[in-house]
Subunit: 108 residues, 2 copies
């Protein structure tokens, strides 16, 4: 099967990208990619995002050291969101707060 | 801990919501919620979204029968995305294509 063509048009050039631990299924973080961040991620097998606050390409872990190593990338049925499965790392601090993952606030 | 106040302002009233099987960690789908869809989800413990194409509230499974039963809701560090963990259902067809989950297109 050919790789799907991602639809960046729907949301002003951005798609949500969910980062998931390939081994455990834990969701580490969610951020946005533009075409360049997506292309860089596929080409380098390290995860890039587009920072909405800084309006620029952002390599995850560039300053923190918490680089995310890509294992697999999957697009959804509408080609407008992706899952990036990354190598399991027991010492990962994916969140900028220092937490292992970003989803630590209980709503319900 | 008090429930976090979700920040809907950042993306024109919408946040991405990732639906994850609470038992297996499988990501079933990703869609968007506005304040109303979020509130309805928390109040009813069934999953609601905001349809961007139809510009209206949308109860997941309303026509297909594939209602998603909420087990837990977690917000991220910035309060601008959420994970909705749902009850495991081996017969779930979360995707409108009839697939179990929406992420069946391999990019890498």
């Amino acid at each position: 099967m050919n790789a799907p063509k991602i639809d960046f048009a729907k949301m002003g050039g951005l798609i949500p990208a969910v980062v998931q631990d390939a081994k455990t299924g834990e969701i580490l973080m969610l951020a946005f990619q533009n075409q360049e961040a997506f292309d860089q991620t596929v080409a380098t097998k390290e995860v890039y995002f587009f920072s909405r606050s800084r309006q620029k390409l952002w390599k995850k872990g560039e300053t923190s050291g918490n680089v995310l190593k890509v294992v697999e990338v999957l697009a959804d049925c509408d080609d407008d969101s992706i899952i990036i499965k990354v190598a399991h790392d027991p010492d990962m601090k994916a969140c900028h707060t220092g937490a292992r993952n970003c989803f630590f606030k209980k709503v319900l």
